[in-house]
Structure formats: C-alpha cells, structure tokens
C-alpha cells in the first residue's frame, strides 16, 4: 500500500506571530519556520503504518517556494521514502493546494492520503476535505485513531462532545488531530540518509493546475489587547466583585 503525506512549511509553533506595520499581513521576515505540527503527526502515522507492514511506500509532498524542501527533508528523515516539491511563489490558497494534490494523487495513485487537519498559520482546516471532494474519496477528518485493513480504513474522529468512528473505502483521505500520535525525533543517521533520498520538483503547469483565488486580504490587524484587571485579596472579595461590580453571578 502506498501512502501520500502532505507537509506544509509554517511559522514555528513556539513563535508568536506579529502583524506588519502596514497591516498587509503577518511579518515572517527572519522568523523561525518549521513543519506544521499536524503535518508532522501525519508523517509519523504514515511511518507507523509502514513499520506495521501495512504500508510499503511513503511519498511526502509539499507545495511552496524552494525553502519548503527543508520540510520535505524533515519528513524523509522521519521515514518517508521520497519527496515531491511543487514549486509555487508563496503559499497558495487551500483550493489551489487541493487541486495540486489531486493532480499528484492522479499520478501517484496512493491508497491513503494523510494530511494535518489544519495549518497553524492560515488555520483554515480545508485542504484535506477539498482534496477528498475533488478526488471523490471518503474522508476521516480530525483522526485520533486509524486502522487499515482489507481495503478499508476505520477512523476514530474527535468531534464536539466525544468520538465518532467511521469506515472508509480505500482510497481515502485522513486528516490528523493532535492525539493521533506523538511524533518521534529524527535521529542523526536518518537526517543524513534523508539527504540522499530522491526529491522531485514539479511546477503547477506540469500538473495542469492554474493557481487562482477568489479571496483578497483587505487588511490584517493584531487582536484587541485585553487589559489585565485587579488582584483580589480573598475569596470573599472575589465573590463581592463578581456580584456587585461585574454582575455576572
């Protein structure tokens, strides 16, 4: 079984995003970048499926400028077998990404595509579902458990209020939630090995996809700052304030 796993280069999750002074976007100059945490979980899940003997090959794909090859190498160091970079200028919108991934799916014909449920920059939570719709595949989003057997995948999903399990006919799309697994650290020998693994570069034109968007960003602003309040000295004072000042109880 072949697995395709999509990875995105995003701001490191430990870095607080700051808005540019001209309110055009978030400032990413000299900011530490990393593999999107949910994508890392997707890579880990693919590697575990390979270690269990369920998967035989893992292809990691990323879309963006040349710098995103770094995140493909991260996936290769974690255990993916080969990489594909689709060269684009900036980070395209979810629908364009889904169309590019659909073109890769048509070429590679994976049995399972693993993606993060959302990227921590755009926070859209769209790409996996859009790819599933374009390919006509079933989807198991926000997965906390994935079991593959006999041409189908049983996926346990984290939903509001609890868990839901669905059964999907393969090929299928799965997007990962936080508790699916804890990604391993790449070992130094594996990081070295990853440098020699094959990495193909393609363009959207080669894949027959035109990148376009119906959305324009008017402005980007920092969120309203919440003012800190006061410290109270006792539970009694707290109750008094909540009753008489804030009037919320």
């Amino acid at each position: 079984m072949k697995i395709l796993v999509a990875v995105k280069r995003v701001i490191d999750y430990n870095v607080k995003a700051r808005v540019k002074a001209d309110n055009s976007d978030v400032d990413l100059t000299n900011v530490k970048m990393a593999i999107n945490p949910f994508c890392e979980i997707a890579v880990e899940e693919a590697v575990r499926l390979k270690e269990k003997g369920v998967a035989s090959e893992i292809v990691a794909v990323s879309i963006g400028p040349k710098a995103c090859q770094e995140q493909i190498r991260t996936a290769l160091a974690l255990g993916a077998d080969r990489g594909i970079q689709i060269e684009t200028e900036a980070s395209p919108n979810s629908l364009s990404v889904a169309k590019l991934l659909k073109a890769v799916v048509d070429e590679e014909k994976p049995d399972l595509v693993l993606l993060g449920k959302q990227s921590i920059d755009s926070d859209n939570n769209q790409t996996g579902q859009m790819l599933a719709a374009l390919a006509g595949y079933p989807q198991g989003t926000f997965a906390s458990e994935v079991n593959v057997e006999d041409g189908s995948a049983k996926v346990t999903r984290e939903i509001d209020g609890g868990l839901q399990t669905v059964e999907l006919k393969l090929p299928a799309i799965v997007t990962t939630d936080l508790r699916l697994n804890e990604p391993r650290y790449a070992s130094l020998p594996n990081i070295m090995k990853a440098k020699r693994k094959p990495l193909a570069v393609k363009t959207p034109a080669e894949l027959g996809v035109e990148i376009s968007s119906t959305l324009t960003t008017v402005k980007v602003e920092p969120p309203a700052e919440r003012q800190g309040g006061i410290k109270v000295g006792s539970v009694e004072e707290l109750v008094e304030k909540l009753k008489n000042e804030a009037k919320v109880i």
């Binding site: 978030v26 629908l95 006061i230 410290k231 707290l238």
Partner: protein, 309 residues
Amino acid sequence: MSILVVAEHNNNSLNPATLNTVAAAQAIGSDVHVLVAGLNCGGVAEAAAAVAGVSKVLVADSAAYEHQLAENISLLVAELGKGYSHVLASATTTGKNFMPRVAALLDVDQISDIIKVESEDTFVRPFYAGNAIATVQSSAAVKVITVRATGFDAAEATGGNAAVEQLSIVHDAEVSSFVGEELAKSDRPELTAADIIVSGGRGMGNGENFEILYSLADKLGAAVGASRAAVDAGFVPNDMQVGQTGKVVAPQLYIAAGISGAIQHLAGMKDSKVIVAINKDEDAPIFQVADYGLVADLFDAVPELAEKL
C-alpha cells in the same frame, strides 16, 4: 440574494450554534433559508421554522444523512448551494467536516471561522491562533462560509413562522459508513453554549481533583473545561479542552483554576466577558488577561468559593 444556513442537529434537537449562524446570515442579508438534512428530523425542522428571521426551511430526510457523513451531505449542500449567494454552517466539527467539500464541489474558496460580517462580500476571521485578525473580501459566485459561534449573538429561537419544504434529493456516495459514537454524557451545559465556565489546568494535579470544579460548576450552573495541559496529562477527556486546538468559548464568566495561561489556551477564551484566575503562581500569564486575579492555592480557594456562593 438568498442565504442558505445548514442546520446542525442530532435528528432530535437543533444545536444552539445554528442560532448564531442564522444571526451571521442575517448580518449579510434578509432572505435566510435553513437546510435540515437528517433522518426523522421533523422536530428539528419545526424548531428551525420557529427561529426568528428564517423565511424558509428545507428538509432532506433520508438514511444517507442520518450521521451527517460529509461525503453525502456535501453533495446535497453543493447542489442546493448553486442557487444561493452564500452558504453558511457553524464552525463546529460537523461544519468543518463537510463545508470545504461543498466549496471544492462548487469550485470556490471557503472562508473559515468568521467572527464578523463587514458587508455581503467582506468578512473578518482570526488566523495564526488568534494572534492576527484578517479582513477578507470574496469575489466567489457562491460564498461558502463557516461561522464561529462566539462572534455572533444568537438569533431568537422563537417568533418565526417559516414555510417548511420537503426535498426528495438523496445523495449517497456509498464510500463511507458510520460505525459508532461515544459521546460524553453530562447534565451540565455544553461548553460552547454555557454562560459560565469553570476550567482546570495542570495545577489540578489529577482527574479526581476535578471533582471540586464540578461542585463549583453545579452551584453556578456552569460547564467545566480544561486546558490542553490538563487534557494531555490525561486528567480529563479531550472534548473538555478549551483553546486554539480545542473549543473556542466566550461565556459571561470564565473561571480559570490552576491554568498558567499559555497562548494556545488564551486563544480559546480571551473573548469571555469576565475572566477570573485562581493560581498560586503570581507571575502566571493568565493574570495578564484576568479581570479578577486571586493568588491562592486552588484547593483552598475553589471549595471556599463554592461555599460562599
């Protein structure tokens, strides 16, 4: 210009988040239709027809829609959506699951998690975990949007008298099936709908200690939440998690006990009207956003608070 709102429900009752989504639709335009797709969901359709400001309710009643499987629902919504200027759903795990499929089927971008409507084509949404707020304009023929409930005051659940129309469209993609569901059972209000929330963090120490929060919550009629640290430590189940990667809430009163105030947690609760923090570490970042901070051991302060209320 008509707007279609896809109702969220469990075939028995209308999820309150739908009322917020109807309110968002009303901020865009006046002709608001609600789609109720499910199985034996007539009661939900009646509830939707009673929502103030709804002019029409469409009902698609079929086994294919019973569990809101995205593969089936998206085909229905995309087919109906072609006739609307906007299609809206709540940014819950259900809405987030099927709406991007709808957008892809209609070949348009989706606008996720809006918190404000500027005009019929311009919307405000947070990104970068709430550290930046974007205003985006859409030129799409059909604008596919998910709505964050905390951004909009709920529409009135009564006062409306919409016409109910039965649809006979059945879409079954036959590629997925529902196996089962484990839902937490609780008499307390849902986190996203509660007026008061009591939340615990790593400082709770273990799951048993959450009992003192449950006692306080029951005194207040509150829901109980938790920080990611408490969930990751296994104290409580993940559906209690408040934060960027959990639920985003904005109650009248949010009481944070033993929560340090990591960015990821603040992103999920900083729009609460009044925030109370109880923490023994006086330098905890939670105090920077709290209206009332109490530097105290929560194991003393929380039971005392419950007692004094």
